[in-house]
C-alpha cells in the first residue's frame, strides 16, 4: 500500500463541543500533506487524537498498515509518528543537544544496569546517541547552539530544535503543528528548504500551518477542516479555489462579494 496513514471517520467531542466529526483522509508515503482551517477548526485536536494524547471517540487510524487504536503517546512515537507542538514544548532547562538526545530514547535500550555499570554496549550506545544528536542539530541548522539551554535559543531556532528532536525518534511520519508561526519571511524560506530536505530524505510530513504561502507552495495535498469537519481535500490549487474553503476563511458574504468584484 502506498498509504502511510489512513484515517476513517475520526470523531472527538469535548463535552458538548464536537471538535472533530467524520474526518477521513489518507496520507501517501513521501508526501507533504497540509492540514489547514480557521482557528478552532480542530487541527490540533486531530494531532492530539492521532498521537494518542487524547482518546478519540469514534473512527480509526491505520498507520503503516497497523491500527493505532488504544495506543499511548509513547507507543505511537514508537510506531513512527513524531510531532512538534503549536506552543513549543522543548525541555527548556536542558541543552539543545540533550533535547535531541532524549529524542533518541525510543530507539535505544540501555536500562538501569547499563547506566550503573556502563558496559561496552552502553558506552557504544551513548556515543552513538551523542553523535546522531549532533548530526541532527547540524541537519536542522542549530549546531552552533548545541550547548545552550533550549530556553535561551531564538524562537526560530527553538522551532528547528523541536523538529530535530522529533527526527531523532526516526519517524515515518513527522507531524508539525504550525512550525512557521512567529517566523519572518527569511526564516520561513529556510524552514521550507528544511521540510523539502526532510521529505527528500524519506520522511512523510503532516503539516498544520497558517502561512498559506508556505502551505500552497510546499504541500502536495491539503485537507481543510472547519468546525471539526472536512470541507475540502486536494491539491493546493483545487483547495484554494473551493468556494467552501473561501467561505470558511472569509465568511460566506464576503466571499460572494469578492467573486462579484
Amino acid at each position: 500500500m502506498s498509504h502511510l496513514l489512513l484515517a476513517k471517520d475520526v470523531a472527538k467531542r469535548f463535552g458538548g463541543v464536537q471538535a472533530l466529526a467524520e474526518v477521513s483522509f489518507s496520507i501517501d508515503r513521501g508526501e507533504i500533506y497540509g492540514l489547514i482551517g480557521p482557528n478552532g477548526a480542530g487541527k490540533t485536536s486531530l494531532f492530539n487524537v492521532l498521537t494518542g494524547i487524547y482518546d478519540k471517540d469514534e473512527g480509526s487510524f491505520l498507520f503503516d498498515d497497523q491500527p493505532l487504536d488504544q495506543l499511548k503517546p509513547n507507543q505511537v512515537a514508537e510506531r513512527g509518528i513524531a510531532r512538534t507542538f503549536q506552543n513549543i514544548r522543548l525541555f527548556q532547562n536542558l541543552s539543545a543537544v540533550e533535547n535531541v538526545m532524549i529524542g533518541r530514547h525510543v530507539r535505544t535500550r540501555a536500562g538501569v544496569f547499563g547506566a550503573i555499570f556502563r558496559d561496552s554496549a552502553t558506552r557504544a550506545e551513548e556515543a552513538a546517541i551523542e553523535r546522531r544528536s549532533y548530526e541532527l542539530l547540524e541537519y536542522v541548522g542549530v549546531a552552533k547552539r548545541a550547548n545552550d539551554l533550549a530556553k535561551h535559543l531564538a524562537y526560530g531556532d527553538q522551532r528547528r530544535l523541536e523538529i530535530a528532536r522529533a527526527l531523532a525518534t526516526e519517524p515515518k511520519l513527522l507531524a508539525l503543528d504550525e512550525p512557521a508561526a512567529g517566523m519572518n519571511a527569511t526564516e520561513t524560506q529556510g524552514l521550507k528548504r528544511l521540510l523539502e530536505d526532510i521529505r527528500r530524505d524519506g520522511t512523510t510530513i503532516l503539516l498544520i500551518e497558517h502561512d498559506m504561502k508556505l502551505v500552497m507552495s510546499i504541500c502536495d495535498r491539503v485537507l481543510v477542516l472547519d468546525y471539526g469537519r472536512k470541507i475540502a481535500e486536494g491539491t493546493a490549487a483545487v483547495v484554494q479555489n473551493d468556494p467552501k474553503v473561501i467561505a470558511a476563511y472569509l465568511g460566506g458574504d464576503i466571499a460572494l462579494n469578492l467573486k462579484g468584484a
Partner: protein, 368 residues
C-alpha cells in the same frame, strides 16, 4: 562566547594532572578527617557519619525530586523500611543475625518494592497532590511500625528494637575501639571509613544514572511530561524507576543508620525527617549532585555547630544563658533556611554550568 574559558585550552595535556592532584588531596583530607574531628570529641566523628547517611538519603530523594521532578514528602518511609529490615534481621528480637553485607542489599530491594508500591497509584499525580499522597504514605509506614507489636510482635511497637548488631566482618567489629597497625581507631572512626566507601559508591551510581539514557528520561519528565510522552518515553515505567531507585538508596541509608545507632524506633521516622531531607535537596540545588551533597552536609553540621556554640556565645555576650541551646538552635536553623531561600532561591550550588558547555571550547566553531 568561550572567551572567558581560556583556562580550558590546555585541558587535554594539563588538566588531568591537576585533577589527579585534586583527587589525591581530597582523598587525604577525607582519610584524616575523622582524626581531626576526634580532637573535638568522638561526638563529631559520629556527626560526620550522620552527615554521610544524610548524603545518601538526600541523593536518593534527589532522584525523585531533583531529576524526575516528583515532590515526595514521605521519603523517610524508605529509610524506615531499610532500618527496620536491618533491625529485624540482625538483632536478638527474632534472634536472627545475618551479616550486614547481606542485609543492606535486601533492605535496598525491599525499599525498592515499597517505592514501586508508592509510585504505582500516584503515577497521574503531580506537585501538591503528589506531595499529600506521599506524606500520607510516610505516615502510614511510621504508624504501622508503631503498632505492629500486636497480635504478632513484629516491630516491637513504640519501644523500638534494641541491641542491633553492628557491622561485622568476621571477627572485625566496626563498633569496638581497637588498635590497628599501631593506630587507635574508635568505633565511629571505623564506621566512618566503611560509610565513606558506601557513600562514594552511592555518589558514583547517582552520577552515572544522571548521565544516562534513563537520567535524561527523568529530566525530560521533569521538564515536560507531555512532550516526554510524545517523544516515546514510557513515563509510567520511568517514573516507577525513579521511585524505586530513590527508595533503594533510602533503604541502604536506613540499614546503616540501624547498625550505627544499634537502636531503632518509629520516632526516628517522622514527617520532620522527611522535611529535613527535602530541605537538603532544595537548599543544595535540586538535581545537581554536588549541590545536594553540600546541602546534606551543611544541614547536618549546622544544627550541631549551633548546639555547641549557642551557650558559650550567650555567656560571652550577656554573661548568662538567656535561651537554652535546644530552642535557639532550631530558631537559627530556620532563619538560615529562610535566608538561603531568599538570596539563593535555586539552591546554594545549582547546576548553572552544565558539563557539556565546557566542551564548546574543544570545537573551534562551537562558539560564535
Amino acid at each position: 562566547m568561550s572567551v572567558a574559558k581560556a583556562g580550558d585550552e590546555p585541558r587535554t595535556a594539563g588538566i588531568p594532572v591537576k585533577v589527579w592532584a585534586g583527587v589525591a588531596l581530597v582523598a587525604v583530607a577525607l582519610a584524616v578527617l575523622p582524626f581531626v574531628a576526634a580532637f573535638a570529641g568522638q561526638a563529631w566523628v559520629r556527626i560526620l557519619n550522620f552527615a554521610m547517611i544524610y548524603v545518601m538519603l538526600a541523593l536518593g530523594l534527589n532522584i525523585v525530586v531533583g531529576f524526575a521532578g516528583l515532590l515526595d514528602l514521605g521519603y523517610i518511609a524508605f529509610y524506615a523500611v531499610g532500618a527496620y529490615m536491618y533491625a529485624l534481621l540482625a538483632s536478638p528480637h527474632f534472634n536472627v543475625h545475618l551479616p550486614f553485607w547481606a542485609i543492606l542489599p535486601m533492605g535496598a530491594a525491599l525499599a525498592c518494592i515499597f517505592g514501586v508500591l508508592l509510585g504505582a497509584p500516584t503515577l497521574k499525580l503531580r506537585g501538591d497532590y503528589l506531595a499529600i499522597v506521599t506524606l500520607g504514605f510516610g505516615e502510614i509506614i511510621r504508624i504501622f511500625l508503631n503498632n505492629l507489636n500486636a497480635p504478632v510482635n513484629i516491630s516491637n511497637g513504640p519501644q523500638g528494637i534494641n541491641l542491633i548488631d553492628p557491622f561485622r566482618l568476621g571477627s572485625f567489629n566496626f563498633a569496638r575501639s581497637e588498635v590497628v597497625g599501631g593506630v587507635y581507631f574508635s568505633g565511629p572512626q571505623k564506621y566512618y571509613y566503611i560509610l565513606l566507601l558506601i557513600t562514594i559508591g552511592v555518589i558514583l551510581v547517582n552520577v552515572r544514572l544522571q548521565n544516562s539514557r534513563l537520567g535524561r528520561a527523568w529530566e525530560a519528565i521533569r521538564e515536560d511530561e507531555i512532550a516526554a510522552k510524545a517523544m516515546g518515553i514510557n513515563t509510567r515505567n520511568v517514573k516507577l524507576l525513579a521511585f524505586a531507585m530513590g527508595a533503594s538508596f533510602g533503604g541502604i541509608a536506613g540499614g546503616i543508620f540501624s547498625a550505627t545507632q544499634q537502636f531503632v524506633s518509629p520516632e526516628s521516622f517522622g514527617l520532620f525527617e522527611s522535611v529535613i531531607v527535602l530541605a537538603m535537596v532544595v537548599l543544595g540545588g535540586m538535581g545537581h549532585i554536588p549541590g545536594v551533597i553540600l546541602g546534606a552536609i551543611l544541614l547536618t553540621l549546622l544544627p550541631e555547630v549551633l548546639r555547641y556554640t549557642m551557650e558559650p556565645l550567650q555567656n560571652a555576650l550577656f554573661g548568662r544563658v538567656i535561651l537554652d541551646a535546644e530552642t535557639i538552635r532550631l530558631l537559627v536553623f530556620g532563619i538560615a533556611l529562610v535566608a538561603i531561600m531568599l538570596y539563593r532561591p535555586a539552591g546554594l550550588w545549582p547546576s548553572a554550568t552544565r558539563k557539556r558547555e565546557l566542551e564548546v571550547a574543544r570545537a573551534p566553531e562551537g562558539a560564535e
